[in-house]
């Protein structure tokens, strides 16, 4: 009896998941099945990106059905998800790869199935992408490093906390960081290591560095906000004054904007809405044709050009005391359920 019960349990779970999926098949009108393959959903930025994508007017209206594929920070999972999209005959895909090289295989898989792929947010070394809608990471890497250097008065010691090694954002932000450091030879890099975009990892890293170099660290260059925030936590937990450090991050996640408001750090907003919705617009222009009208707000500032460009550069927005409140308001609008 108990055994039968256990099996029923398992079967019930199975049924639950089928209904948890809750497929809304739109009858009659053509819906476009688009897969959004994101590298991972543990960080706030990718969650903002995904939410913004789901708020795109054509998704809300049901014209486009978005399926989010969580890559779990694993290139082979993303590869498998692209194979699934190919088999299932998706109409198009948006791709935020975890690895700049490994992602090429995934794009090739989609190409051989005739599925157009638009990249967003992070790059992949593939000639098969329809287009790429993202921001120039070399630029933001440069901007944040310059900001830290300025905060510490042009000379001193800094530490650099990196993203996952091999992801384009890490590669390019590092390049930008290095460019700024080369221009300022009186600033020395004491440590440089990856914390994989994770606040918790960065906290541990910073704790150890504070112990290894007591009193010597003047600035922290975090290649993203989550890690910069982790560093701030480490500094505060060590009983030190955050304002004695020059700290910068990138992305403009909510906690970072609040920290900017508290003058604990500097940050640069990466426009997730522009990247996500813009990428979908480019994809839809390809799928629907010249009659398609792009919907994202970002096209007010950059030229859509019929969706034919290979690269769309979404501008960075430095977060300042003047604009932080407006940005926070926009953010809570986006994250409102």
């Amino acid at each position: 009896m108990k055994r039968v019960l256990s099996v029923c349990m398992i079967v019930m779970f199975t049924m639950t998941m089928v209904f948890a999926a809750g497929s809304q098949e739109a009858e009659g009108e053509k819906t476009y099945n688009v897969g959004a393959a994101v590298y991972g959903l543990q960080g706030e930025y990718m969650r903002l990106w995904t939410t913004a994508l789901e708020r795109h007017p054509d998704v809300v209206s049901g014209l486009v059905k978005i399926t989010v594929f969580d890559g779990k920070y694993d290139a082979s999972v993303q590869q498998a998800q692209f194979e699934t999209m190919s088999t299932q005959g998706y109409d198009g895909a948006l791709f935020v790869p975890i690895d700049i090289e490994a992602g090429a295989a995934a794009v090739a898989t989609a190409k051989s199935a005739g599925i157009p792929v638009v990249g967003s947010n992070t790059r992949v070394n593939s000639d098969d992408l329809l287009s790429y809608v993202g921001s120039d990471d070399k630029k933001s890497g440069y901007m944040e490093a310059i900001s830290v250097i300025e905060q510490i008065g042009g000379s001193g010691n800094v530490v650099i906390i990196e993203g996952p090694i091999g992801q384009s954002a890490q590669i390019e932000r590092r390049a930008g960081n290095m460019k700024a450091l080369e221009e300022n030879p009186s600033v020395k890099v004491l440590e440089m290591r990856t914390a994989n975009w994770s606040r918790a990892e960065a906290l541990s890293l910073m704790e150890n560095w504070l112990n290894a170099h007591p009193g010597k660290i003047d600035g922290v260059i975090g290649q993203n906000d989550e890690m910069a925030l982790g560093a701030i936590q480490a500094i505060e937990q060590a009983g030190l004054n955050v304002k004695d450090f020059g700290i910068a991050g990138i992305d403009g996640v909510t906690d970072a904007m609040l920290a900017v408001k508290d003058k604990k750090m500097v940050s640069i907003l990466q426009d997730a809405t522009a990247q996500a919705q813009g990428a979908l617009d480019v994809l839809l222009a390809e799928l629907i044709g010249p009659s398609y009208v792009p919907k994202a707000k970002v096209w007010d500032s950059i030229d859509f050009n019929g969706g034919s460009e290979a690269i769309y550069n979404v501008p960075w927005v430095p977060i300042t005391m003047e604009n932080v409140d407006d940005l926070l308001a926009e953010r809570s609008e986006l994250t409102q359920r």
């Binding site: 089928v18 999926a21 699934t84």
Partner: protein
């Protein structure tokens, strides 16, 4: 001796009861297989695309890496041990092989079989270290392989300086992307490995000894079985198959990734446990492991097809694993 009374349930004829007992017994043996079939049926109804030949090939191909790890894990768990390092050894084997099959690191050897061979040797070496510690110095397997998980991962990062190895030779990619008469190479590889493992486990004395050691190591030793050698070799096998998984993964992702395989040991152990192999050793079947691995593969693939959020997926997967183990322990209690 008290006369053993035949228990007769009031109201039921003896024949009926026997049939019910028979059905339950059959279900016990094939329980997981039935659950698997049920899952496939439910998914096919919900998403007819699930049964498309191409999707089936996808599932098989995606399951092949975990399948390899699970086969090695079966050998280890049958002896009453465990191997937590399979994910890290997968990564190490993968990057070592990649380093001999890419011009990005100035490799002079460009023969895919040589590169793969060296990768396998790397896995064997690490497996041997674990095996030695467990078999000869009797350090608990959990502790040894937990340590090896860290060590192997560290070695992987040291070896690659933390960077992925790109531009793998096209000839090497066949391991992950090639096809033979429409069947993906990884599937062919795991089929071969499964057949060989099956023969070794069920048709050789070595295989019987593995069960003996897992069942009762002391008795096995007293009966003349070289228990140390048996225990040592299963970790070598696990290391070898982990490295093979790493080679396939490298070929599939066209890069030697030092971060590959993180937490893969969990899926491997899950497959073995779902398949009915007991964690205390001596009991279990290879066929169960394969069904377990396929179950996990189908769950992953099916939930993706249905568009279930990845957060739900994790809950469901865990629930199914617990459910399966519950089944196993209830079965043993009777």
């Amino acid at each position: 001796m008290v006369k053993q009374m035949k228990r007769v349930e009031i109201g039921k004829s003896p024949d009926e009861k026997n049939l019910k007992q028979k059905l339950i017994a059959k279900f016990n043996d094939y329980g997981i297989f039935i659950v698997f079939i049920l899952l496939v049926i439910v998914l096919s109804i919900a998403k007819p695309n699930f049964l498309r030949p191409q999707n089936i090939m996808n599932v098989l191909r995606q399951t092949s890496i975990n399948g390899l790890l699970s086969i090695g894990m079966t050998f280890v768990i049958l002896t009453g041990g465990i191997d937590l390092s399979v994910g890290s050894i997968l990564a190490f084997g993968g990057v070592v092989a990649a380093s001999f099959a890419s011009d990005a690191v100035g490799s002079t050897i460009h023969h895919p079989l040589v590169a793969a061979g060296i990768g396998l040797l790397a896995g064997i070496a690490l497996g041997a270290v674990s095996g030695l510690l467990v078999a000869k110095w009797k350090v608990p397997a959990f502790v040894v392989t937990l340590g090896m998980l860290s060590i192997a991962r560290g070695l992987t990062f040291i070896y690659t300086d933390g960077m992925p190895i790109p531009r793998i030779d096209k000839s090497f990619l066949i391991f992950g992307q090639g096809e033979f008469f429409g069947i993906p190479f990884p599937v062919i590889i795991i089929t071969f490995v499964y057949l060989i493992a099956w023969v070794v486990l069920y048709k050789t004395r070595y295989g019987r000894y593995i069960y003996a050691v897992g069942g009762n190591e002391k008795s096995a030793k007293v009966s003349g079985v070289n228990t140390r050698m048996i225990v040592f070799t299963v970790y070598v096998i696990s290391g070898l198959l982990s490295a093979l998984g790493g080679i396939i993964l490298t070929a599939r992702t066209t890069a030697g990734l030092p971060q590959a395989g993180v937490a893969y040991e969990l899926d491997a152990i899950a497959a073995v446990v779902i398949g009915g192999t007991s964690l205390s050793g001596g009991q279990g079947a290879l066929s169960g492991t394969i069904i377990g691995a396929l179950l996990i593969g189908v769950i992953n693939n099916g939930l993706d097809l249905l568009g279930v959020s990845s957060y739900f997926q994790q809950v469901i997967k865990g629930a199914i694993i617990i459910g399966a183990v519950l089944l196993d322990s209830l079965r043993k209690k009777d």
